[in-house]
Amino acid sequence: MNVIEIKNLTKSYGSSRGIIDVSFNVEQGEVFGFIGPNGAGKSTTIRTLLGLIYPTSGRAAIFGKSCTEDPEVRREVGYLPSEVFYYDNMRVIDLLKYSASFYKKDCTKRIEELAGIMDLDLKKKIDDLSFGNKKKVGIVQGLLHEPKLIILDEPTSGLDPLMQQKFFELIEQENKKGASVFFSSHILSEVQRLCSRVAFIKEGRLIKLEKMSELQDNNYKKIKLEAKNDIDKDLFSLEGVGKLEIKGRIADFIYRGNINNLMKIFARTELANISITEPDLEEIFMHYYSNEKV
């Protein structure tokens, strides 16, 4: 069964559009990325999925059930919202225990484990914590019941780089243990690192859903080289070369095609330096955002 099934999901807020006819599935065991600019509808999709808001039409299901009809299904869901707020005057440990009390299993060991990994002081009052530390409470709170589906909404904002690393290792571990992850983020490098499939949402509609590997395969390579001598302007007039810029000894271009043809040209040229890179997700993303007509 698919862990998440979203079918023709539409939500409008009066006359403003929220999301329109969004459909996709998240399979058991995968790490699924969900990207879009501000206001695209990521939060709306997640909130509808969780049962916080009701769809105008369509359906969103977790493990085959709707959260609003079967709230029990949330037992297997861990949600890390982008902004965390908790009740005043509670200690971290009290909040975590309160959270655990909803799941009908003993989470004490897991709470201690997670607090240790994230370096979280359980005895402190939540009000006294910095933003980053409150975020850590959110992370522990979302994972302490060992959920089979983890929904992350901008999870690492506010964490220092070391903690971000630890957090990702945590998620990777959970995934290895069998948890599926739904990851909404602006930080494309993170999505790139963790996710096996990615969906792009723009202006309320899903415009692209692809495997990470295909996204990068179907794309071009970026090449920047420095030759020992001035470069002939015809040297790279080869099919598949685009955005060619030659300035004296430096050539800058993108290439899509049989890499061997390009290698032959490199072999014939005295090079001082060369860099061949994959475009990162950000560049692919920007390509879809600026070019794609919805």
Binding site: R47, G51, L52, Y54, P71, R74, V77, F102, Y103, Q141
Partner: protein, 266 residues
Amino acid sequence: MNIYKHELKTLLKSTIIWALSMTALALIYFSVFPGIAEDAEEFKKLLGGYSPSIRALLSISLDNITSILGFYSMIFSFITLCGAIQAMNYGMSVLSRETRERTADFLLVKPVSRSKIVSAKVLAAFTMLLFTDALYYVSAFVMANLVKTSDYSNKLFLMLNLTLLFIQLIFLAVGLLVSVFFNKLKTVLPVSLGVVFGFYILGALLVTGENVAARYFAPFKYFDYNYILKNGSFDGVYLVISALIIAAAVTASYLIYTKKDIHAVS
């Protein structure tokens, strides 16, 4: 239930403050009683000077004003006013707390239905109102016995005090209903004060006339103390009306809250 216990803890401090305040208010009034009882005739003459409508307003019955129960009827409406503010506050704040403190994304994502959440919170508010009333009742009972000039009926005293609970339940339900209509409730107290005082004054204005129908709009006048003291019972019609209001408001609150969209915090 965990939500219930959590809410009890949240309401505990305010409950104690309300119970103590109401007790203190009663203490002040009770401390005046011995003086009045001594100069009973003078006091009656003084009150006789006020117009009948003002006396009706304050539930003063010249026959028994100098007896402990009659005196208590006069002051009890002020205690009830306090209790009503407390109840309306609780009604308005239990559900809206999740929006005001922005913890909705925590609680409403838990594997528990929204109706269970409403039940736990309403039950907790009810428990704390009962607790307040019980604390208050015990203190009032002690004080009344300390200052009484002659024996009085414990049953009647209890019945008078029960009206506090009835009116609190009405305002708890009304507060609950008002809170689910708003998506962003910033401050609870001003609305509570406004509504409760509004009804109190409305009651004062309407009931001085002969218009019976007007009484339906004045919850504070649903339970007439003199009627209770004379008849040893509550007015059945108003018990039913109270129950209907409470049932309707609470049911509507459940229905609205379960179907609401809970938006992200801003």
